[in-house]
């Protein structure tokens, strides 16, 4: 095989992948209740959602169940999704995270105390205005680097918020720290990450 041929094949594959990443057609098929669109949806976002859920629940069996729940939820709620504005991946990721946090809260007996209507916070309209560069590999690397620069306490509270769904009051109780101190760690950490994302989020 000549190098020219191989380059042509590589370009063709790349074009196909880039085309595949446009979710608008997929959303349209899901809205038309095309069951095979679910296959594409899972193949596209199954690994990412599973990764987030597993990181939260730390149990493969539970994570698998929650992945299934996540995709069924997306299937059921896709009629409310605006494919002209929507970002399917971020929405799927949020639904996955919320299913896992919901599970964690229920097994830890926190559901009755601090449970919040996560449902409202995963409404598809929340994931409408996003610029394409936000989730690029470069941007992710910058974010990871920014997290590396956080102090241990800042990083700890970020993980408690994102992966355990703890409120600042719950963090203070768990860490045995004054609430004001925890709030300072949380807000300063978020400020750093917010600045790192800069103008990528509209």
């Amino acid at each position: 095989m000549s190098n020219t041929f191989l380059v042509s094949v590589a370009v063709w594959i790349l074009s196909a992948v880039l085309h595949f990443r446009d979710d608008s057609e997929l959303v349209d098929r899901l809205k038309r209740r095309d069951p095979h669109a679910m296959t594409i949806l899972y193949d596209r976002y199954g690994r990412l959602t599973y990764s987030v859920i597993l990181r939260i629940v730390r149990n493969e069996g539970v994570a698998e169940d929650l992945v299934q729940e996540t995709f069924l939820r997306i299937w059921n709620r896709i009629p409310g999704f605006d494919q002209q504005k929507g970002a399917l991946g971020p929405w799927a990721l949020t639904v996955a995270r919320n299913r896992a946090i919901d599970y964690l809260r229920s097994v830890e007996g926190r559901a009755g105390e601090t449970a919040f209507e996560l449902d409202l916070l995963e409404h598809p309209t929340l994931f409408g205005n996003v610029q394409g560069g936000m989730l690029t590999l470069d941007r992710q690397k910058m974010l990871r680097d920014a997290v590396e620069r956080l102090s241990p306490n800042q990083r700890l509270v970020i993980e408690l918020a994102y992966y355990e769904g703890l409120s600042q009051t719950e963090m203070a109780a768990r860490l045995k720290q004054p609430l004001g101190t925890v709030k300072t760690w949380v807000r300063s950490a978020l400020k750093m990450l917010r600045q790192e994302l800069g103008e990528a989020v509209a």
């Binding site: 679910m38 601090t114 919040f116 978020l190």
Partner: protein
């Protein structure tokens, strides 16, 4: 809370981890349709996703997750025949190879482009040099053969095309120095014949363009000069090639 105070809490609100009072206040404010806060909340929701995507270590779900999900929706999973597996394996190998090869090819392509640009220039020079070397009226002089120390090479003098010097084993010079070629007439003062540098390997090809009176030329020499060159030699020549017939 002011908008600014609320803007610091959007991420926590979107994560569902804001404590009661603050959560309620933001919730009530959002319900008024405040566009500033709606935009802020969307931004926070997307930031949360970006942070999750960036921080979460990648894990691979078992194949049974896909099968269960699709079966639960009445969609049959793919039936993988041995041919399918073979094709998939071949695709994986090809994709992996293409990935690695693609990266290599990109580097090679860049290097090749640079080399090609260099080669075009070098090729033009070599053609001119070959023309001089092949001309029937060119006189060739070998130098350095009798010496144990470098440099060694040849000088070609053509009455119409000029002088070509091909040298090897030239000493490396300081950055402030340069080689200068001289054409020395019989019984006359050396005439500057151009500046040149050697390659890292100590080789050089230098050409003086224009007609040369071979019969009156006594020698071609090379000295080490300050980098701006000199109008007359300032050091002992390291190459002296007596032009044959002189």
């Amino acid at each position: 809370m002011t908008h600014e105070e609320m803007s610091e809490l959007y991420e926590l609100y979107a994560l569902g981890v804001l404590d009661g009072e603050e959560r309620d206040e933001i919730g009530q404010h959002l319900s008024t349709g405040c566009e500033v806060c709606q935009t802020g909340l969307r931004r926070a929701a997307m930031q949360n996703v970006a942070i999750l995507a960036a921080l979460t270590p990648e894990a691979v779900p078992s194949g049974r997750v896909r099968v269960r999900l699709l079966a639960g929706m009445g969609i049959a999973g793919r039936t993988w025949t041995w041919l399918g597996w073979a094709a998939a394996a071949a695709c994986l190998v090809a994709a992996a190879w293409l990935g690695v090869r693609g990266s290599q090819m990109s580097d090679e392509l860049t290097a090749a482009r640079q080399q090609a640009a260099l080669t075009d220039h070098e090729l033009a020079r070599v053609r001119v040099v070959l023309d001089v070397l092949n001309a029937p009226d060119t006189r060739a002089v070998v130098f350095g053969q009798e010496k144990h120390e470098p440099p060694k090479g040849s000088v070609f003098v053509n009455p119409h095309s000029g002088v070509v010097l091909i040298a090897s084993r030239l000493p490396q010079l300081a950055a402030t120095q340069i080689y200068e070629m001289w054409v020395i007439p019989k019984g006359g003062a050396p005439k500057p014949a151009g500046l040149f540098r050697a390659t890292a390997a100590g080789t050089a090809i230098h050409r003086l363009e224009g007609p040369v009176d071979v019969e009156t030329t006594g020698a071609v020499a090379v000295t080490v000069e300050p980098e701006a060159g000199s109008s007359a030699p300032t050091s002992t020549p390291i190459i002296v090639a007596p032009v044959a017939g002189s």
